[in-house]
Symmetry: C2
Subunit: 101 residues, 2 copies
């Protein structure tokens, strides 16, 4: 299970691109991209979307990795992390079901 940062780094290194180039495309300083790849920063949603387009990978896959990372960050250090995630899941299912009607 690769982290989002790792995935991005692999994609970039496969194309042998320096941080500078990809960062310029994202319109941010390369320092941030470095931190993102190393998992010291979370990218914004918009950055993830841009990266998916740039590397031609499924946007949804990257977004799921991104969002789950954010959730992980939210529950880290909490004993009830798993329980909370499961309850949240139930709530989402409940909400989705009622929306369909």
């Amino acid at each position: 299970m690769d982290s989002l940062g790792n995935t991005i780094r692999k994609l970039r290194e496969d194309k042998e691109l320096p941080l500078r180039t990809v960062a310029a495309f994202l319109d941010i300083d390369q320092a941030i991209l470095s931190k993102i790849e190393r998992g010291h920063r979370n990218p914004t949603r918009e950055q993830v979307v841009k990266l998916a387009a740039y590397f031609k990978v499924k946007e949804n896959d990257l977004l799921v990795a991104w969002l789950s990372d954010k959730l992980l960050y939210e529950v880290e250090d909490e004993d009830m992390a798993l329980k909370a995630l499961q309850v949240a899941e139930e709530k989402v299912k409940y909400i989705t079901k009622n929306k369909k009607k």
Copy 2:
């Protein structure tokens, strides 16, 4: 499935306490407690802990409700909400497993 706000409201009304009193205990303006009970604001972790003690209910139960609410807020509007929650769950399980060693 009661929301956290609703749970708190019920606890307060059972004791026939005005917002003012509980808010004072939490050291916040009653306006905020009103919003919390109505689900227009999320309480802080500290406030939840205080409320559990105040109403003598299991801290963990309230915290799970609180944390799952935050997660829900984080994924709302996202199509991949459920998927992201499930992936996050896997990640938590993975992390927990490796911590034990």
